[in-house]
């Protein structure tokens, strides 16, 4: 089993369709196939045992992915914003890799002893005429993973997740119908290539026959303009992007947009409600998944969003804040602290099993129990209808005295306040309580809500013991490029910052 099977099917099914880039002059499925063959030949010639991709998203990325797959070596997309030290230690894992890097990063790769090509040079290499036949005997069904993604390390040092061909293809076969996209469909991607969503999107878009375009540098205005110019029908964003689009002073008409998928971090209820009202014709999709699970394991679809928004029943309305129902092929268990499975309505650790679940770390092996279940370390519960709610990471739990408190619960309340744009709640070391609750809040420009007023607002919704003892106002919160909150940076800043702004 190899990713290239998906590419072979795409060539058979819609070889002349443009699948990457602009409609005029973009790369067709047949061309992508040719490029994967030439690219694979180049990889083999260079003797590389991996392809490190250290550039922005663009056509070079899927070409690299399928060329690597044909050559039987892993693609390793790396965060081009990593600090020099982190980058060096990561590259040390791949000393014999072929590197594809943007100008700013190629020095780092050359320093690590890798051959480096710019994305343009890589594309030129892949456009060389090929002499080999389509059926390449060099494919191994065993051995090398298809993709290695280093986890974002928001809670600890990054680990390399090994995504095998079986994991990725099983995910695609389980959740996508072949050639299901219309020839006019076009997807706009604004997530970076080192994020699992970008990897998954490259594969699922190809398999469904949907052309994808990348917006490298996200600004709300550019996103909106591009969506109109390219007649985009499907879009993939992270919650912070949708929040910025919704708040932007810009023309927000996107007449061709039919579907908008989001994920990667929790979506504030206020943002999705505004988006639903702003674009009533658009189908919104919340996707929950991890790098370790080859992306999506639960989906809240367009009908779910609309039903929740329209409902008077609190239990149904609440589903707007859920991540939906698990996808076919995934088994889900919520387990308590003793590893016992609990029923609906009870929170615990989200554990999953399925062919798409890799949970395999380089140098460590598969982090699954004897029944094959992977503990995501996300907290959550399932309602009576099978809708999954995420309550934050297990490791984020604040322990104040004898009480376990989930920051997500307090953040959710803060985010409901009309003057609050973003909020992070953490446990700060406290001699008396073990930890005390503090919050960093970003307020809407032009507003001036009093800190005590905000604390009262929280106390009105939750108990006194869940009210932050201190709230500070910041211009922004430390988030990754895909909008994930980096809690340990929040904690560091709070601990060193003594006075309120």
């Amino acid at each position: 089993m190899n990713l290239t099977m998906l590419l072979d099917m795409a060539v058979d099914g819609f070889g002349d369709r443009v699948v990457i880039g602009r409609r005029d002059g973009g790369i067709t499925a047949a061309q992508l196939n040719d490029m994967s063959l030439a690219g694979a030949a180049a990889i083999r010639e260079s003797g590389a045992d991996a392809v490190v991709y250290l550039a922005v998203n663009g056509p070079a990325f899927p070409v690299a992915m399928f060329a690597a797959a044909r050559a039987g070596v892993p693609l390793v997309p790396v965060n081009y914003r990593l600090g020099a030290e982190q980058l060096q230690s990561l590259l040390a894992n791949h000393p014999r890799a072929l590197g594809i890097a943007g100008e700013a990063q190629s020095a780092a790769l050359a320093q690590a002893g890798l051959t480096v090509l710019s994305p343009e040079q890589w594309l030129d290499t892949a456009r060389r005429p090929i002499e080999t036949t389509a059926d390449d005997p060099g494919l191994g069904d065993d051995g090398a993973p298809a993709v290695v993604i280093y986890t974002s390390g928001t809670t600890s040092a990054p680990k390399g997740v090994l995504l095998r061909h079986e994991n990725l293809t099983s995910y695609v076969f389980g959740s996508v119908e072949f050639a299901s996209a219309e020839p006019e469909d076009a997807a706009l991607i604004s997530v970076p290539p080192y994020h699992i969503a970008a990897v998954a999107n490259a594969i699922t878009s190809l398999y469904s026959g949907r052309r994808t375009m990348v917006l490298e540098q996200f600004t709300p205005a550019q996103w909106l303009q591009t969506a109109r110019d390219e007649r985009i029908t499907n879009a993939l964003v992270v919650p912070t992007m949708l929040s910025r689009i919704v708040e932007a002073e810009a023309d927000k008409n996107v007449p061709t947009l039919r579907s908008l998928a989001y994920g990667g971090a929790p979506m504030p209820a206020a943002v999705i409600e505004k988006a639903l009202q702003m674009w009533p014709e658009v189908g919104f999709v919340n996707a929950y998944g991890l790098t370790e699970t080859s992306s999506t394991i639960a989906v809240l679809g367009p009908d779910d969003h609309r039903a929740a928004l329209a409902s008077d029943e609190p239990a149904v309305r609440a589903r707007l804040g859920s991540v939906g129902q698990i996808v076919p092929g995934i088994e889900l268990e919520i387990r308590d602290a003793n590893d016992e499975v609990v029923g609906p309505g009870i929170a615990g650790s989200i554990c999953v099993r399925g062919e798409q679940v890799s949970a395999e770390y380089a140098g460590i092996g598969r982090a699954v129990d004897e029944r094959g279940f992977f503990n995501t370390r996300d907290k959550g519960y399932v309602d009576d209808g099978g809708y999954l709610y995420i309550g934050g990471r297990m490791d984020d739990t604040i322990i104040r005295g004898a009480e376990n408190i989930a920051p997500a619960e307090i953040e959710e309340v803060l985010l409901r306040h009309p003057d609050v744009l973003d909020a992070a709640v953490v446990g700060v070391p406290d001699e008396e309580w073990g930890q005390r609750i503090e919050a960093a809040v970003v307020v809407r420009p032009g507003t001036a809500i009093d800190v005590d007023e905000l604390r009262s607002y929280v106390r009105g919704a939750l108990r006194g013991s869940k009210t932050p003892e201190r709230i500070v106002y910041w211009d922004d919160l430390p988030r990754t490029e895909t909008g994930k909150l980096v809690r340990r940076h929040v904690l560091e800043r709070l601990v060193t910052q003594v006075e309120k702004v």
């Binding site: 089993m1 099977m5 072979d8 099917m9 058979d12 099914g13 059926d135 079986e166 293809t169 099983s170 076969f173 389980g174 959740s175 996508v176 119908e177 072949f178 050639a179 299901s180 997807a187 969503a197 998954a200 999107n201 699922t204 878009s205 469904s208 949907r210 499907n234 993939l236 579907s259 998928a261 994920g263 189908g283 999709v285 996707a287 992306s295 999506t296 989906v299 679809g301 367009p302 996808v327 062919e355």
Partner: protein, 102 residues
Amino acid sequence: MILKVGQTLASAIDTTAVIVVRAPKDEVVLTCGGVDMVAGKSGLGDGSGIEDAYRGGALLGKRYVDEDAALEVLCTKAGDGALALDGRVLEVKSAKPLPSSD
């Protein structure tokens, strides 16, 4: 044959190839065009030998199921022969696709 999820099977008599998406626990006989399928990624024949009774054709990308046996295969290469499990022709699955989530 005991089938395994992710296994690729090829027709011995035409161009059909499939991948197993759901596998029955017991041993089964999977045929294409009336002939047992074999391990492989590409069909081994050109379809000219298929008897009329076994024509039916698998379409690229479509899923074929036998719900009783909990078998589902996905066609990775199209062909003329009908897919059958223990002599029962597989049904095309009209799946309701998930909304695209990435």
